[in-house]
Structures are given as C-alpha cells and as structure tokens.
C-alpha cells in the first residue's frame, strides 16, 4: 500500500517537474552558450542567428537555441501573423531582440539567468498586478500573467501619468461595493469600497479602456483619456446579471470554468446569501435556496442532521447523500447515528455541519450525473462543494460576529390540543374519556418549555500581500433546547487558510480546520423510556405512579455526543506557462464521535444503571491531481483539455460498548460496570481511484462542446468486475453573444444540454461471501452466516440527460434558469432476497435494478422594484421530482417501516390498507395493500423576498413549500390507542365509538369512515395514520441595518445589525408532531414521525463588525 502511495506521489512530482522542463523547451529556449564562457550580460551574448521571413515565435525559439540564452515568453502575447527576418549572425542578443520586437508592444529584460519578454504594460505597473494574480477565483486563461517581476530599471520608457477615479452604481443607482475596476492593457486594477468608489493612480497618459466587473452584474466597459497630472472621472452603472454566465465555478477539473461553458445547471450560494438569513449550520443555508435540493429537518434535537437529497433518490440500497468537498478535500459525507444506543440517539450527526457558516465563502451545488461525471463513483447523488474564506491583498481585516437569541418550542400539537402535546401544559392531561391526570413532577409554572439561550461568537482576521495571504478564524456557539433541563449544541471551531506564492507561477494553499462539538439530546423517538415520548403519551406512558404520569423521570437519561473533526488540505497550483495549469491536492478528513447514553444508577427504570458508548472514527485521504491545458487552435476555435487522477482512501471504524450494573451513583465509565461488553468492533476500508479526460471545444467563446470520460476502480467492486467507465458530453450555446441578439432588453440567453454518467459503489463487504464471528456458549468464538456474496457486483450507474436555458432580460429584472432532467439508474443495486431456509438470510445485492427520476427545476428572479430608495427582488426556486422504480427484479423492496420500492411506483413510497370512502359517514370500505403516496416530497418551492430600503436596511423572508408526499404519524397512532386514547383529534370519534359499542349506533352518524378505523382502540393499525404531509414553512425572516460610518468607532470599517427569526410559521393539514419529523433522521431511507422533538422556532440578534 505504502509503496503504491509513494509511487503515485513520486510520479506526480515528476509529472509536475516534467512540464516545467518542457516549458523551458517550448517557451524559454535554452542551449549551450557559444564559446562556452558566459558573458557578463546575457543580452551581450552573440546571437548567431539568421532567419528569413519566419513567424516571430519561431524566430525567438531559434534565437534561444543559437545564442544559448534562455528566453522566457508567453506565446499568447505574440500575434500569429507577425513575421520577422534578420541577418544577425554578428549581432548581440539584445540587438536582435530590439529588432524583432520593434512595433510589437513587447519589451524584454534580463532577470537572473534568463531574458524575459513581455508586454510593455506588464512592466509599468507591477504593484497593481497583484490584484489580478491567480488566487483561485480568477480564470487563469483570461486574466493571469505569470511573468516574473521585472527589473524596472531596464528598457522602460519614461511615461507621463494621471489618476482615474469614479463610482460604480447599480442600475437603480445604489453604490456597489466589491467591484473590480481595471485597465486590462496596463495590468492595473482595484476594488470599489462600500461607497462604490475606486481610484487608480499612476495611470499612463493616453486613451485607456476601463472595465468594471463583479459577480451578479453585467461587466461594463468605458473609454477615457488620461491626461498627465490630472484626474479623470469615470463612473459605471452596472446592470444586474440574473444568470451570471461569466461567474467562475469549479467543475472537477483543474481549470476553473465560467458558467457559460457548462452544459449543466449549477447552483451557487455566496457569502451574501449566507449572511442574509440566520443560519446555524450549512444545512440551514440550503433550505429553499436552490432548485432540486430537498432538505428535511428531521428533528429539533440541537445539531441533528437534516436529510439532504439532490434530485431525489437514485438508490434503494445505498446512501443517497451527496458527496461533500471542502476546498477540494472530500469529506466522509454520511451522517452517523448519535448517542450511545438507539434508545438515546435517534438522529444523525453530520460531518457537513462541522464546517462553520462563518467560514464559508461560497457553496456550489452540482446536481445530477450529467454534471458530476468527473467525480465518478459515489457522485450519482450529486456533489456539494464548499469553499472557505481566504485573505485578500491589503491591510489586515478583522471581522467579529456576535449573535444572541432564544429557541422556543412554538406551536406544537394537533389542532385543538391546547396542552401542546403536554409540553405547554403538564398539569392536566386528558384522555378521550374526559379523565384528567396531573403530573406531580410538572415544573411549578405548569409547562416543560423554556426559552433556550442562543449565543454565537466568531472572530476572524485576514489579509495579505502580493505573495501571501491568510484567513484565520475562531468561533464558539452555545445553543440550548427550549425544554427545561433540555439539551444543547456547543461547537468550537478554528480555521486557518493560507496562500503562498513562492514562485510567480506556483501557488500553495493550506487549508485547515478543526471543530470540537458537544451536543446533548433529550431522549425521544421510539424509546419507551424517553422524556418526550412519555410526555406526549400522558396517561398512556411508562412513568405512571399512583395513576398519574411522572415524566420528569424521563429527563434523567443523558445522551451526549462529543465530536472532533479535522479537515486539512494542501493544494499546489502550478501554471506552467501559456494556458496550462496543474493542481495537486493532498487532503485529510478526520471525523470522530463518541456518543454515550446513560441510564443513571438508582433510576427507577433499571436501578443498577446502564451505560452505552458508540465510537465512530472516519478518515478520508484525498489525493487529487488535475491538469488543464487551454489552447487557441484558430482565432475562433479554442480547446481546453483536462485530465487527472484521484485517489480516495476511506477508513471507517466503529466500536460499541456497554456497561451494566454500577456500584453507586456518579459519572460512570464503561469499565466501572459489573458487566461490560464490546458489542461491535468494525474497521472498514474502501479505496476508490480513477482518472478522467475531458476536452472543451470553444467556438468564439459562445458555443462550447464538452466531451469526457472517467474510469474508476473501487475495492468494493466484485472480484470479477474490473473498472467502470462514465462518459459525458455537453453543449452550451450563448445565443445572446451573437450580434443579432436584442441585448438592449434581453441581455443574456444561453441554451444547454448534457448527458453523462456517474456511479455509486456497493458497500465494503457486499461482494464477498462472508461469515460473521459471534460469541456463543458462554463467550466462546463461533461463526454464523453473514453475506452470500456476489463476485460480479459493480456500481450503480446513473445516466442523466439534462437540457435547459438561462435568460436575463430587462437589465436583469427578470432572470430565468430552467432545467429538465431525466436520469436512469441502471445496474441499480437491488437487495435480492435469498431463501432463509438456504442458510443466508440477508438479502444479497445484485446489479439488476432500474430506477428513474425526472423533473423540472426553475429559478426565477424578478426585480419587482428597482429604485435607489427601494430595491425589491423576489426569487423563486421550484423543482419537481418524479421517481419510479422501473425494474426491481420483480421484488418489492422494503425501505424500512412501511415504505417500499415497488415497480411502477415512486422510489420510497408508503403502502398499506386505505379507506376508500374516508370522508363518508359510513362504515369503512377498505382497500388492502394500496399505494398511499411517495415518502419524499416531489414538489418543492422556495420563495425569497429581499427588499433593500435606502442604502442601509435590508429585509429578507424565505419560505418553502414541500408537497405531494406522505408522512407516517406514528405519534398519533400510538397515542390514540394508549391510556384510553390521548390523541385529541380522536376524542369525539372515540366517544362515539364507545357509545356505539354500548348500543347506540346513531352515535356514529357524524363519524367518518376513516375515523371509525383510525380512532378505534380495539382494532388499531398503522395503515390509517399515513397522511398527506404537505406544508409551508416560513424558514427565516431577517432585517439588517448597516451602521453609518459616523456611528462607528474609528477602528471599525463597517458594521451591521441583524434581527432575525427562524422557523416562525408552519402551515399544514398534517396533524402529527411535525411533517418533517423523522425518527432515525438522516441515517436512514425510511421516514417516520414517532415522538421526535420538532424543529425549534428561534429569534436572534446578530452584530457584525469589520475593522
């Protein structure tokens, strides 16, 4: 193994070195010096050259060879049609260069042991060039100069200079900060301040062309004449760019691409989007913000993972989580079940949420196989790329953020239940018979809820110079549950990002982050001893003493998760000249959790006490080499060739233990118990490695054709399987770049289409026939059958077709991004049942399935009002996802707890008996084994309204609809049949049913057919509790105020105050605890609302100061 790693490393280093040498040959010609003695100056060396009407590039190559002097230059600076002739056998190199470069705009100078040739502008303003250097956010091929810093004393003509200044505003007249204003020909540039103003000094006199550009607006260009010693004012007014075709994105290649080049859709969330809403973690950022992204909150346990699906489910047996990359380093993306035992840990701990929102610069969401082909195996569920913040050139910048607020339980319970399922009033529980029960352990103020304090603090410092920048941050948060004696979430994070430029063409980026996190959860869910479970059950709960509930007993259990997460990566970017870039990333992701669940000594439930622990350690090594070469074949045709290889080594370990029976009270350890057991010890390693080749053909920068293929191997593939290839092809056509396009009102329009494959590997042991070691006969080692095995097992292969368009009209007032996708997952891994009577009872995965997802995604951005005083933008993100299991080898596959995959129906749908005449006042007519509906919402709509009032106030509201799906109201099912019925919506029906049983059939006159079975306490069934779960949630509302500079202390640059609320309103007909509740949450494909604490409502105030 180590030999292999070293082999890869050494060869990669050689590969990096190789182009460097090659570059010298091509672009910096070198040979032995004539005469063998080095002259004092390279320029005085004899040229020894005679050329007759040759292209200048070729002539320079010959000059280098003949003179032995290294000439470094970029071919892109030389016009193809420039030819020279020179009978210069007795001239010096300097004289020949003077002759050849005459009228070319190129200059030369001697640096060390070489002569560098470049544009004259590159020499005149080097200090300003730093803002244009490659720093990870500028497309290399368009703006990057890689020439060495020149010695200004050489060959620079004296110039007269002036100043250019001005202001950049939006179309509505609002000042625009962060705009890059530059003079490309001179290599000058700067960025506007908060007032939109900029200033360029030492600009050579003469006519110049200024360009202003910033993401979100159309770039603008202005001509001006600079006069020596004078100030020239050039203002810009930028029209909003609703589709951002020139936005730079990361696509899995070394070459950052502009959105216009992609054949697929891609959603991007920026720092501004993040700061607009009150977010606690990354999943909060994603709600309703991008079409095709389905997030389900699952739980109100602090820090619990949400379920994330990009374009639905395309596997019925493997995890559907998207891949997650942070600064190019792959994370182990699947959530881990928290707590020490299922009794106390009903939710997931997500590595994704370890990345602190304060540190995020932007997030790219890559959906569907057509877009994720280059990510290969494991990418069919999509990819989420997170880019953290970096320092910028300039003085040190400090940023502090302080947030405080409260979590509240808000409204809870079915309609008519004023007790809020016993949380809001624990003095009086009532059952269907009208009997009341008082909880003697109920707090003195009569309820179990409180305002859970929220505190968040973060501090960061960033800055840099031309060859070094840094971003260092630290943060701490404490968020408490809105239940008395409830849990909390306390993350502590540190991040340090550094960029070095040891050479002009080499950038080294070091990104590292550590987060430690402690969460404590109340026991809830399917745990009969849990607090929330018993409060809701009231008199039907476990903690009945003297005929009344004593639910404080459920608060004595402790469920704690301690997490340590480190992500570190070193990325080297090497630009070897021309338009050739290389990138090597070495990354390491380490995630460790210790979940513990304690039933304390002396507790009534098990007086001797019991203690569980679950340790999970996951480590992922990333080795990622990418290279991209851009080349202009003709004036109108360019290519960008990318290829590279990736190696991912994932190591997952888990150790579960428990102790039973303690001698006394106190904080226990496992080994303090009378009986200790290690129940699980697993170490699973998986290696995925592959390579890809992709070429983008670029016709006049408006038509792009991309062809590519990726080839992967994976250690989980069967021994007979071999490698898997994933091809792709896409086209993007920017029609609005044609001259005939009416750009005066329709600024941008492009169409795109793509097809591509991506995959998902089986589990580590799925291909192997195995027996499991067990203990039996009093601790003796033994074996029992585990997995039947399948040596032909390969990955699932998702092929996706995607077409769409992006359009921006009326100065960005109306932006549309529309996509239709059609994806088929072939060779889907279907767990095929083997007969238990033949020994192996577990299902064996086989590549026999075929699944399908189709849908539309639309992002509509409307500028309703564009005034300097009021700027109102509405953004609608809508998506549909219709899934279907086309072929499951004829099997019905259980996806857990009454949810199934069945041929011809949505993947993960609910099945059961259904009351055909549900709303009739009649005896129920039952249809057995009926399709109820999909488990995951096929329709998602996010609606965000952002209003800017004047220059200082910004208000935003984000709502989300999810509909078309069903949920299992397990809470209602259990409550309705417990303690003589403690589910308020059933009270009247249950009284009527009792009356009917007592001989009064007329009592049922107003009881519907559904109520007659659903509320029955004698013939109960889950089937009647599968309900539509459509809902609207007001995810967030915020109002931000930017403080006037005059109010700020002298040291502060700017500050803002934000008042915000989260999860403020839920509108739904679903009468369970919450339509998003999910027992086992993100760790499972099944979904079931079963006594899970619902997401909290929160109000926060946030102060951000930059100084």
């Amino acid at each position: 193994m180590y030999r292999m790693i070293w082999t890869v490393l050494i060869l990669t280093i050689l590969a990096l070195a190789a182009p460097s040498a090659a570059q010298e040959i091509q672009l910096a010609v070198q040979g032995p010096l004539n005469g063998g003695e080095r002259p004092l100056s390279l320029l005085s060396a004899p040229a020894g050259l005679t050329v007759d009407d040759r292209p200048l590039t070729e002539a320079l190559l010959l000059l280098g060879e003949r003179s032995g002097v290294t000439l470094a230059f970029s071919p892109s600076f030389i016009r193809d049609d420039h030819r020279v002739a020179c009978d210069c056998g007795d001239r010096t190199v300097g004289e020949v260069l003077d002759h050849m470069l005459d009228q070319t705009g190129l200059v030369y100078w001697e640096v060390g042991n070489r002569v560098v040739i470049s544009r004259s502008s590159a020499m005149t303003r080097m200090p300003e060039r730093r803002v244009l250097r490659q720093r990870g956010d500028v497309p290399a091929s368009r703006t990057l100069d890689v020439l060495p810093v020149p010695d200004r004393s050489l060959h620079i003509p004296a110039v007269r200079q002036g100043v250019v200044t001005g202001q950049v505003r939006t179309g509505a007249g609002r000042p625009l900060a962060g705009v890059m204003v530059r003079i490309p020909e001179l290599g000058l540039g700067t960025i506007t301040g908060t007032d939109g103003r900029y200033r360029l000094e030492d600009v050579p006199a003469g006519e110049v062309v200024l360009k202003a550009a910033v993401i979100g607006f159309h770039a603008a260009e202005e001509r001006a004449v600079v006069r020596s010693g004078q100030t020239t004012v050039v203002d810009f007014q930028l029209a909003e760019d609703a589709v951002r075709l020139d936005e730079v994105v990361v696509t899995g290649t070394a070459d950052r691409q502009r959105r216009r080049e992609l054949g697929t859709s891609l959603s991007q969330l920026t720092r501004a989007d993040i700061e607009l809403t009150p977010v606690r973690n990354i999943q909060d950022i994603l709600y309703g913000q991008a079409p095709g992204v389905l997030l389900t909150a699952n739980s109100g346990q602090p820090g619990a993972a949400a379920t994330i699906r990009l374009r639905g489910l395309n596997s019925i047996s493997q995890a559907n989580e998207p891949l997650i990359y942070v600064d190019g380093v792959r994370l182990f993306s699947q959530p881990i079940l928290g707590g020490g035992d299922e009794r106390g840990g009903r939710q997931g701990i997500s590595p994704l949420n370890s990345v602190r929102p304060e540190d995020i610069e932007r997030i790219e969401i890559v959906k569907g196989a057509a877009a994720t082909t280059l990510y290969g195996t494991e990418a069919s569920g999509g990819v989420i790329q997170i880019f953290t913040r970096r320092g910028t050139d300039g003085p040190t910048q400090w940023s502090a953020e302080i947030q405080t607020g409260v979590n509240q339980i808000g409204y809870i319970g079915p309609p008519g239940d004023d007790t809020g399922l016993g949380l809001l009033d624990c003095r009086t529980y009532e059952n269907s018979l009208g009997e009341t029960f008082a909880d003697p352990t109920c707090p003195s103020d009569g309820n179990w809820v409180r305002d859970g304090l929220i505190q968040r603090y973060s501090l960061s410092v960033s800055g840099g110079s031309s060859d070094f920048d840094y971003y260092v941050s630290g943060n701490f948060a404490d968020e408490r549950q809105p239940i008395k004696r409830g849990g909390f979430d306390r993350p502590v994070g540190l991040r340090a990002n550094f960029n070095f430029l040891p050479l002009d063409n080499l950038t080294l980026s070091l990104n590292s982050a550590y987060i430690g996190r402690t969460t404590e959860w109340l026991q809830d869910g399917s745990s009969s001893a849990g607090f929330f479970t018993n409060v809701v059950r009231g008199p039907g709960g476990r903690w009945m003493i003297d005929g009344n509930p004593n639910n404080a007993l459920g608060l004595d259990f402790e469920n704690v998760n301690d997490t340590n997460h480190f992500v570190g990566g070193l990325t080297a970017r090497y630009h070897s000249g021309g338009d050739w870039t290389h990138r090597l990333t070495v990354g390491y992701d380490y995630f460790n959790t210790e979940g513990s669940t304690l039933w304390p000594f002396g507790h009534i439930y098990q007086p001797e006490g019991r203690f569980w622990k679950r340790h999970h350690t996951r480590a992922t090594v990333t080795l990622d080499y990418l290279t991209a070469l851009r080349h202009q074949l003709t004036q109108s045709l360019g290519t960008s060739l990318s290829f590279g290889g990736q190696y991912f080594d994932e190591d997952s370990r888990r150790l579960y233990s428990q102790g039973y029976g303690f001698a006394g009270p106190g904080e226990p350890t496992i080994d303090a118990a009378a009986l200790t057991q290690v129940t699980t010890d697993r170490a699973l390693r998986n290696v995925n490695a592959g390579f890809f080749v992709q070429n983008v053909f670029d016709f006049e920068d408006r038509l792009f054709l991309t062809l590519g293929v990726r080839v992967d191997g994976n250690s989980a593939f069967g021994s007979n399987f071999g490698l898997q290839s994933y091809p792709k092809a896409s086209v993007s056509y920017v029609l609005s770049d044609h001259e005939f396009w009416p750009t005066d009102w329709w600024e941008a329009f492009r169409v795109r289409a793509a097809v591509g494959d991506a995959g998902r590997a089986p589990g580590v042991f799925d291909a192997v026939s195995t027996w499991e070691p067990i203990s039996a006969e009093g601790g003796q080692p033994g074996f029992t059958p585990a997995n039947l095995g399948n040596p032909d097992l390969g990955p699932e292969r998702t092929r996706e077709y995607e077409v769409g368009f992006e359009s921006s009209t009326f100065s960005g007032r109306l932006g549309v991004d529309f996509t239709y996708f059609h994806q088929d997952t072939y060779d889907a891994l279907v767990p095929v049942r083997s007969a238990p009577s033949a020994g192996f009872s577990s299902r064996q995965l086989d590549n026999v399935g075929h699944l399908r997802n189709t849908g539309f995604e639309a992002r509509l951005q409307v500028g309703l009002v564009r005034r300097q005083a009021v700027d109102w933008t509405t953004t609608l993100n809508a998506s549909t996802n219709w899934s279907e299991a086309i072929d499951l080898n004829g099997e019905d596959i259980s996806m857990g707890w009454r949810s199934w995959a069945r041929e011809g129906y949505p993947i993960a749908s609910l099945w059961g008996a259904r009351v055909v005449n549900a709303n009739e006042f009649a005896d129920p007519i039952i249809e057995e084994d009926a399709f109820i509906g999909p488990l995951y919402a096929p329709y998602v709509i996010g609606l965000q309204n952002t209003v800017r009032l004047g220059e200082r106030i910004t208000a935003s509201a984000l709502g989300e609809w999810q509909f078309g799906h069903f949920a299992q109201n397990g809470t209602g099912y259990q409550n309705a049949r417990r303690g003589d019925g403690v589910w308020r919506p059933c009270f009247e029906a249950q009284r009527a049913l009792l009356a009917a049983e007592a001989g009064d059939p007329s009592a049922l006159d107003n009881v519907t057919a559904l109520e007659r079975v659903k509320c029955s306490m004698s013939d109960f069934s889950w089937d009647w509790w599968m309900q539509p779960a459509d809902f609207f949630k007001l995810r967030s509302v915020s109002v931000s105020y930017d403080w006037p500079e005059r109010w700020l202390p002298a040291a502060a640059d700017r500050a803002s105050l934000q008042v915000a609320g989260r999860n403020l309103l839920t509108v739904t007909d679903y009468d369970g605890v919450d339509p998003e509740s999910g027992d086992f949450g993100a760790t499972n494909l099944q979904r079931r609302d079963y006594y899970n604490l619902p997401p909290s409502r929160s109000f926060v105030v946030t102060l951000r100061v930059h100084f």
Binding site: P19, S528, D892
Partner: protein, 407 residues
Amino acid sequence: MRTHLRRYVQRWLVLGLAVLFLAGCDNLFHITNPGFIEADDLDELAGLPGLVVGMSGDLSVALKEVATDGSIMSREHRNGATQTRRGIFETGQIPFDQVNSYWTSMHRARWVAEDGIKRLERVLGEAHADDVLTVRSYLFAGFSNRILGEHVCQAVVDGGPPEAFTAHFERAEVHFTEAIRLADRQGETGLGFAARAGRAQVRAALGDWSGAVQDAGTVPLDYLFEAVYSDNTEREWNEVYSFTQRAGTGLTVYGTEWFDVEDDPRVPWSPDLDDAGEVRPTADGNLPGYRQDKYLSRSDGIPLAKGTDMRLLEAEALLRSGDLVGAFDRINEARSVHGLPPLAVAASEGEAWTVLMHERGAELWLEARRLWDLRRWYEEGRNDVFDNRDSCIPISQHEREGNPNLS
C-alpha cells in the same frame, strides 16, 4: 505549436496510465477488511470448533425467540409491549409478513448445523466419526429440526418446495439416530442421553409412541441438556429474562392460566412493583405487570431435553394406552424432582388428561414446548385454544420472496 501540444498531451496520458498501472500492480483495489470471515476460510481444521460453537449459538438464538414471543402464542404469557411482531401472537392472527425473524432464526440454526455436518465430513474425512464435534453437530441439527417441526405450519428445506411440517421431525429423527450412533462409538454418554431424549421427542411427535418410550426410558430422571445463554453479549442473552426483568415488563403472566398457579416451583412469578408498592403496568401500559421468575439471569439456560420431560412423555404414552396408574407413577416421579407431593391417580381418563396437560405445561413452562403440546392436543380435540386462532408460524414473507419454489 500543435506538434508540441500533441507531444505533451501524449506524454501526460502515458504518465497517467503508468501511474494507474503501477498502482494496479500493487493491488490497489484488493483490500481485506477485518471482522468477517470469507466462506472458504472455514474449510480448515482450526475453524471447525468455531463452526460448531456457531451452531450452538444459532440454536440458542432460535430457541430464545420462540421461547419469548412464542410464549404469548402458547398462552404462557400475555403481551405487554407495543411491538407489532409480538402483538400478532396476542391476537392470534399471525400474518406471514410478521414472522420473518422467527422463521429465519430457526432455519439458520438448522442450515448451519446440517451444512456444518457436510463441512466436517469434508474437512475431517474418515476421522469425523471419531470427533465429538460431529456428535454435537448432529445434536444441533436434530434439535433445530425439532423446534421447526413444533412451530411451523409447513416445512421448507434449503429453498425447496413446501412439505408437511412433520418433515422436520423426520429429519430430526435421522440426525438424532446418527448422533446416538456416534456418541456411543465415542463413549459420549451425556450427549447420547441428549440424542435419545431428542429422538424420543420427535418420535412422539410423529406418533411413534413405542419408539419414543423406548428412547425416553434410557434417559435418567435428573438429566438436563440446555441451550446455553450468557451475559457475555446481547446475542447470548436469555431473552425471556431480559425482556421481563425490568420496570415495565414486556410480557406478563397476568391473564394466563399460570397466574392462578401459586407456590409451584416450576411456575414462579412475582409482581413488578414500583416504589409505592403498586403493581407497575406493562411496557404498553395496558396490563398489570407480573413477571416470570423461572429465569433469574441472562445466563440461565433453556432446556432442550430433560429427564422429567421423558417421564411425562412416558406418562402420556401410558395414558394413551389406558394405564392411569402407570401414568401417574411417571407424573409423580417428575414432580418429585421439584419436591412436589405426589398426586392421587385420577378417577377418570379425562381427569387424567387434564392433570397430564397441566403437569406438562408446568414442567415445560417457558421452554418453547407448550405450543406444540397445545397444538397436537388441539388436533385431538383435547382443548379449544386455537379456535379462531393460528396455531403455527406460516412460511415467512422472506422465504416466499427468496425461494423460487414458492413464488
């Protein structure tokens, strides 16, 4: 330039392929993870003891599942938990999609033992007849088939077509016979008793009472052969204990005929009292909790064969032949083991059957034997327990889905 471009592209492609090739040579994708054992690795001498221990473990799992949840079906317990799979035994309507766990556990125990016998013969060759592992394997194969025969409605073997459930008794008889032969050959007297007791049980089940009595008579009164349980891991726990001995029991004796039995050491139970001395309700809150005290630790074994069972089996055979005196002689012999006073000979055959059925129920209480007794007596019209109730476990949903002979 184009020439250069081609050259460099070719160079990099070759280099990339070389990296992959070299990496592939180093078995990049061949990773052996610890934990599980690949099937071929069991064909080694050193692996055989573990294989047989595994047979024993799987048999214990199968037995504890039917002893725990099956006790609801046989009315030795009432259900006090919310789980659906237990609720079906309370209602007596046993759907095939709720019995996967029981079906799978019982069949795994059988298959592991029967497949293990073949593996022992393959690995040990002629020596297998002289190895005690082989005797134990035949015993486990016999008892697992007996448990299957007593609980399932239909037999299915190795993914084959359905057969009468008695096929399992017939297989068990073959296995026990071989176990007896090899135990005698090896001088394993104790194992020989277990095999003879097992064969007596299945011969009786097949209606071969004379054969059953012949075997039963060789087993001493105090002989006991148990499935082994342990505190060591949860899989090894005696689930009847672990599921009842906690606050809010999941099974209660309340509501069964055994709730009326007091001061019988064979049927010990006690109330589940809270701190106030009140009887705590069962976990589902529906019934008062009275928990069994027969098994007082997770390590307590569950009998598979015992001398007292043999005496009662002899008693039943005598009763069937009309010898009431002889039958009560055997009944009282069994009672004497527990220090219980002898019972007077019943006045009638009917009364004698009532006594016998009670005595077998008490003697074999919570040992996963009651269901079969009730089932066969129901077929003979001696009880009405299964009027409108299912008396056996149907072919499971998983078997129906995975067995091509059933679809």
